[in-house]
Symmetry: C2
Subunit: 390 residues, 2 copies
C-alpha cells in the first residue's frame, strides 16, 4: 500500500517497467546512447539510415546491409493512390500532425499480414520510415495546390525530405544538417510517445497501430510541440529590447521558457550542443545569423538567471534549437513536430519490435495499471460519498 | 532498487498510478461500478445515453439534461462530406478497426479549438460518441456498395446503430438488447486502451488523439479482439461431438479457451451473467437457440474442468458471450471489436477528461516511466556487452 502511494500521481517517473537494449540516458552525466553508441559519435560519423538500422537491428550495418536497407526504404517510399486521392479531398488548413495520423492509419489498411513475424515487422518499419517522410512532404505540397514529388532512389533520406518538399535537389550542407537533426531525434528511451507505442504493442496490435499511439502522444504540446513553441518564443523576442527583463517576468509569472530544462537531463542535453553547432554554421549560410545571435543571448541570459536562483541543472534542451534550425532550413513552423515524427518513427518501430519480439517474453503481456477509486457508492435510491484515499 | 525490480516486467499489474471517480472493479467480489452505480442497476434501469452521461459528468442526468445530451449527440452525428468521399476511395476489404482509426483521425481535422476547456471537451466527447457509431455503420454500407444512412433524431443511440446499418427501423427487443450491450462495454477502469488514452491526454494532446490511442490498443488481439475469437471458437465447435475432449486437448496444448478468465475478476464477471441472460432471450427470437445451447455447454464443461484443476476463479468473461449476442443480432464478425469501441468511446472520453481537467492536477503531467538498459557500450572501435541487470 505504501509502495502504491509513492507511485500514484508521479507520472511513473523513475518507475522501471521493462528492460531495453535500444537506448540509454544518463541524465546526471548528460550521456545518450543508441544501441550502445554515444549520440556524439553517431551524429559525427553515421547517417540517419545507419542510425535507424542500428536502432532496429541492434548493430550498425556493414556496407551490403546498408545498401539493402536503403533499397527497402526506396521500395516502400510510395503512398498508395487512394491515400493521395483522399488527401486531396481534405481541408487545406488541416494540421500536418492530424494528417500524419490519418495517413499512417491508411498505410495500415493493407497490413493484412497475419504472420506477424520479426521479419515482417522489420519490413513494415522500413515502410513506416519511408511513409512518414512521404506523407509529411506530400501534405505540404497538396495543401499548397501542388502535386506530391516522388522519392528519388539516388538521394539519402534527409536529401529526399528536402527534395520531396521542394522538387529541387537540395544543398548538400543543408541536407547533411537535416540528416544530423534526424539522428538526434531518432530515439530517447521510454518517453511518453514511445511508451504509448509499447503499450499498444503489448496488446499484440499491429505496428501501424503502435505508431499511431506514438503520433497521438507526440501531438501534445507538452511533448512534440515544444520546438514549435520555442521558435514562436524567439520570434516574439525579435524586437524585445530587454531580454533579461522579459525572462524574469516570465519566471515571476510562473510561465515557461520553452526549450529550457528536461525531465531526465539534470545537466547539458548532449543533443543541444550538437544542434547549436549546426545552428551557428547554418546561420551565415542561410542569411539567418540574427536567429543564432538571439537564441544564444536568450540561452545565456536564462541559464544565468536559473543559476542565480540555484537551478544550475536547467539548460537548453533539444527543442530550444531544433525549431530555429528547421526554420533556417526553410521548413514552415507547423512541420517542426512532424519532422520530429519523421525521425522518431525509427525509434518507435524499434521499441514496438522489442516489446513484441524482444526481451522478457514471459512478462504479463498487457500494460494494465490500477487506479484508486475515490468516487461515490450509489444504490437506486441515492449515493454516498466514501472517499477512502489519503 | 528492490521496488523497481518488483515492478519491472509485470505490465504494471496492481500498480496504482492515479485516482479516479469514473469506475471501480472489485475483482474478488465480482463488483463493477460506473460513477458509483452497480453495473446490474445500470443495465436494468438506464439507457446507454444515461450511462454515457454518468461516465462523463459523474452523475445521472435529470430529464432535461438527458434531452439536451441526446440533442447534442444528434447534432454531432454527421460525418463531413470529405470523410465520406475519402471512405469511398478505400479498398473494400479494409478492416473496420483500421477504418475507425482513419475516420477518428479525420474527425479531428476540424478540431482547431485552441480553447481546450472542460466544456469544449464534453462537446467533443458527444461528437466522438456519435461519430464512432456513424463511422462504423457508414463503412459497413460503403464496403457493400451502399450509401450511408444518416442518423435519425427520433431513435435512441442503440436503435440508430441498427438503423444506420440496415436502413430499417429495428426490432425494439433487439435494440434494447444492444443498448444493454453498450452499457456493459462502456467502461472498465484502467485497462490497456483506457490507459493509452490517459497517457496521450497527459501530453495535453487533444481528445481525438487520446481516443486514437485507445482504438489502437483495442485493435490488439489480446484486448478488443477476444470476442471475435470466442465466436470463431464456437463456430468451429458447431460440429464437434466431444466438447470435453476438445477443451482438455486445448488446455494440454496450453492453448487459450477464448472468453474464459480475466486479468482482474477472480470470480464471476458481473457483465457475463447479464449478457448470458440476453443471449438466452434473444436465441429463440432470432432463431439462433443452438448458439445459446452450444455456448452454455462449452461454459459449463470448461468451468468444471478448470474447477477440477483447482482453478475455480476461471469463469466466462464478457467476451465469451458478447460475440455470440452480436452474431444473433446480425452483425458481421468483424464488427464485434468496432462495437466494443462504439460503446467504450464513452469511457475513453470520460477518462481523457478526468486526466486533463480532473483529479490531481499537480501531478507531473506526462506518463514517462523508466527502463533498465541491458545493451552494449560501444566506442568507434567496437562494443562491450555490460549487462548490469539481474
Amino acid at each position: 500500500m505504501e509502495q502504491e502511494n509513492t507511485i500514484k500521481n508521479t507520472g511513473l517517473r523513475g518507475v522501471t517497467v521493462a528492460d531495453t537494449r535500444i537506448s540509454f540516458i544518463d541524465g546526471e552525466k548528460g550521456v545518450l546512447l543508441y544501441g550502445g553508441y554515444r549520440i556524439e559519435d553517431l551524429a559525427g560519423h553515421s547517417s540517419f539510415e545507419e542510425t535507424a538500422y542500428l536502432l532496429l537491428k541492434g548493430k550498425l550495418p556493414d556496407s551490403s546491409e546498408l545498401t539493402k536497407f536503403k533499397n527497402t526504404l526506396a521500395t516502400n517510399s510510395y503512398l498508395p493512390d487512394f491515400v493521395i486521392e483522399s488527401m486531396k479531398l481534405w481541408p487545406d488548413d488541416t494540421g500536418p500532425m492530424q494528417v500524419l495520423m490519418a495517413v499512417i492509419s491508411m498505410l495500415g489498411f493493407d497490413d493484412r499480414d497475419t504472420e506477424d513475424s520479426l521479419e515482417a515487422y522489420e519490413e513494415k518499419a522500413a515502410r513506416l520510415i519511408s511513409g512518414m517522410a512521404a506523407a509529411m512532404t506530400a501534405w505540404d505540397r497538396i495543401r499548397r495546390g501542388l502535386d506530391p514529388v516522388p522519392h528519388s532512389k539516388d538521394l539519402s533520406h534527409a536529401e529526399n525530405i528536402l527534395f520531396m518538399l521542394t522538387g529541387e535537389k537540395p544543398d548538400p550542407e543543408v541536407a547533411k544538417a537535416l540528416d544530423v537533426c534526424l539522428i538526434l531525434h531518432a530515439d530517447h528511451t521510454f518517453n511518453a510517445s514511445t511508451f504509448a507505442c509499447r503499450e499498444v504493442a503489448s496488446t499484440q496490435a499491429g505496428i501501424y497501430s503502435g505508431v499511431l499511439a506514438g503520433l497521438a502522444a507526440l501531438s501534445g504540446p507538452l511533448h512534440g510541440g515544444a520546438n514549435e513553441k520555442a521558435m514562436a518564443m524567439l520570434e516574439s523576442l525579435k524586437d524585445e529590447d530587454d531580454i533579461e527583463a522579459w525572462i524574469r517576468k516570465q519566471l515571476s509569472e510562473k510561465k515557461k521558457i520553452y526549450g529550457m530544462g528536461h525531465a531526465v537531463y539534470k545537466t547539458d542535453d548532449p543533443r543541444a550542443a550538437i544542434l547549436k553547432d549546426i545552428f551557428k554554421k547554418l546561420g551565415p549560410k542561410t542569411g539567418n545569423m540574427e536567429w543564432f545571435e538571439l537564441g544564444d543571448k536568450v540561452e545565456k541570459t536564462a541559464v544565468r538567471i536559473f543559476t542565480e536562483a540555484g537551478k544550475e541543472g536547467i539548460k537548453p534542451n533539444i527543442d530550444f534549437y531544433s525549431g530555429s534550425v528547421y526554420h533556417m532550413m526553410g521548413f514552415p513552423n507547423d512541420l517542426f513536430t512532424p519532422l520530429f515524427a519523421v525521425a522518431r518513427i525509427s525509434g518507435w518501430s524499434a521499441h514496438i519490435i522489442e516489446e513484441r519480439f524482444g526481451l522478457a517474453q514471459d512478462k504479463p503481456s498487457i500494460y494494465r495499471p490500477a487506479a484508486e477509486y475515490v468516487g461515490n457508492y450509489c444504490g437506486l435510491r441515492g449515493c454516498v460519498y466514501e472517499h477512502k484515499g489519503a
